[in-house]
């Protein structure tokens, strides 16, 4: 009787832990005790198996996820962002006014590198997340100019900027799009920005090009360069000619891209963000 009582008490304690044991939430020593007990106790093993079946049944009860769940969520978020867009556009306009348009190469330049499906980097590149503190999951290596990159809400000023300018008018006004020789774009928006840029350029021909949606050029033709190295990530020095620092041994031309790094113009540093996996 006493042994039965002790066993009953033990089984009671074990059964209270069976759920946590099933979920792997017990410490190793406790889990081992439970395992040993149910190995030798038919009643408790039966309870454990029943709990396991019920757990599986509960997991079988699916909640129907709307197919457009993600779309709904992002639409709502983007709508909220648009409400704040007015404030950001004002800030962007004031930055645009500071843009200095330079002709000619040379001079210390700051480059923004972004990679948007560039054919050079499309195949074989996997982002080495561990290498970069900045999650470089998305970046565009789209360079067709040295110097000035204007992204929406982020302007990096530089000297010696050459770039191509492509613009098209949409129903909301002008959209400034910077086109590279790889036909990639990154854009600002809002008519005020186009107006400001045109005012800064002082170029009536550019204005017509803007309105006509043609590619325009300011100064000398923008150069295309590749952020290709021979395998060494190069940490640029602030003020260093980006063409040199990105090309390692100074060669231009097509190479097997092994590494590329994101040059953060605001911090004047390079972060290794991608490494080709062989």
């Amino acid at each position: 009787m006493e042994r039965d009582g002790i066993k009953g008490a033990e089984c009671e304690l074990v059964r209270r832990e069976l759920s946590a044991y099933l979920d792997g939430e017990l410490e190793d020593a406790d889990a081992e005790k439970i395992k040993n007990h149910i190995g030798g106790c038919d009643d408790c093993r039966e309870v454990f198996e029943m709990l396991s079946d019920i757990s599986e049944d509960i997991r079988s009860v699916k909640i129907d996820i709307p197919e457009d769940l993600h779309l709904h969520i992002m639409s709502a978020v983007n709508e909220e962002k648009a409400k704040d867009g007015g404030e950001k556009a004002k800030k962007f306009n004031s930055r645009i006014r500071k843009i200095a348009l330079w002709c000619g190469a040379g001079a210390a330049a700051i480059i923004c590198l972004t990679l948007i499906g560039s054919p050079i980097f499309r195949g074989g590149f996997e982002l080495d997340m561990a290498k970069s503190a900045d999650d470089a999951a998305n970046f565009a290596a789209d360079i067709s100019f040295s110097g000035k990159a204007v992204e929406k809400d982020a302007v990096c000023e530089a000297e010696g900027a050459n770039y191509s300018l492509f613009d098209s008018l949409n129903e909301d006004g002008a959209e400034i799009v910077y086109e590279t020789k790889h036909n990639k774009h990154y854009s600002g928006s809002a008519k005020e920005e186009a107006d400001d840029l045109e005012a800064a350029c002082g170029d009536s021909e550019l204005l017509s090009q803007l309105q006509g949606g043609k590619t325009g050029e300011i100064g000398t033709e923008a150069e295309t360069f590749s952020a290709e190295t021979d395998g060494e990530a190069i940490a640029p020095v602030a003020g260093q000619d980006p063409s040199d620092l990105l090309l390692g041994n100074g060669d231009r031309g097509e190479k097997n891209v092994s590494e590329m790094f994101f040059y953060d113009p605001c911090a004047a540093r390079g972060n290794l963000v991608a490494k080709k996996h062989e």
């Binding site: 979920d23 939430e25 509960i58 009860v61 969520i73 900045d134």
Partner: protein, 213 residues
């Protein structure tokens, strides 16, 4: 299906949280890739968010509203000035936000506990129909017995008190650890353990009464 692939690729909670932490840091910069980083965070958390919201609001449209509200708040949080380094598990944090949004939602309006549509009948009276969460009756793969069992389990879950049901969903559907559940629900881990134990026991008793077990 992309988001399911993304979630299943995360083999452990630690990997998922590591990924979310990196994405959150990127999203906070507001620079290149920030928007994509935020969208990736959404993809990793949206299913769990919706499921938890649905279990609380018991209504698809309301759960959708809650999911939207949750991620708007997340976006605002990331772009704000608040110190976020103390967040160890972003997944738990987002689900906790979802839970709070759901409870706020319920507080603001009268909510039906079960999925329903209201229709107008021939007399112009509004009636409500109960709609099952998922129609498995036409699934040819499942045997009759299996379908009956799953329906009974669904009924058992629906009969649980709110906290028990939420905890069970977090554990069984989302695969959350007890620690994560305690963070999401704002309760002690010991309480999580006992509630899961009791919730499963309740389902077991329910099935026994229906002669399913």
């Amino acid at each position: 299906m992309a988001e399911i692939i993304e979630v299943s690729a995360v083999k452990s909670h630690e990997l998922r949280d590591e990924r979310l932490s990196a994405l959150a840091a990127k999203a906070r910069t507001g620079g290149v890739g920030a928007e994509k980083a935020f969208e990736d965070m959404v993809r990793l958390c949206e299913k769990g968010t919706y499921e938890l919201a649905f279990q609380i609001t018991r209504n698809r449209e309301d759960a959708l509203d809650v999911a939207q509200e949750t991620f708007i708040k997340l976006w605002q949080l990331l772009l704000g000035e608040a110190e976020l380094s103390q967040i160890k598990s972003w997944y738990s944090y987002v689900l906790r936000m979802a839970r709070n949004c759901s409870l706020d939602f319920l507080r603001k309006q009268s909510i039906r506990r079960h999925d329903s549509l209201s229709v107008t009948d021939e007399d112009g009276e509004r009636k409500e129909l109960d709609i099952p969460d998922e129609d498995i009756s036409s699934d040819p793969v499942l045997s009759y017995e299996r379908r009956e069992r799953i329906e009974a389990v669904r009924d058992a879950i629906n009969s649980l008190d709110d906290d028990y049901r939420q905890i069970l969903v977090l554990r069984e559907t989302e695969g959350c650890s007890y620690k994560e559940i305690s963070e999401i629900m704002g309760i002690e881990m010991g309480t999580v353990k006992s509630k899961i134990f009791r919730a499963r026991g309740h389902v077991k008793e329910y099935l026994e009464k229906r002669n399913i077990l």
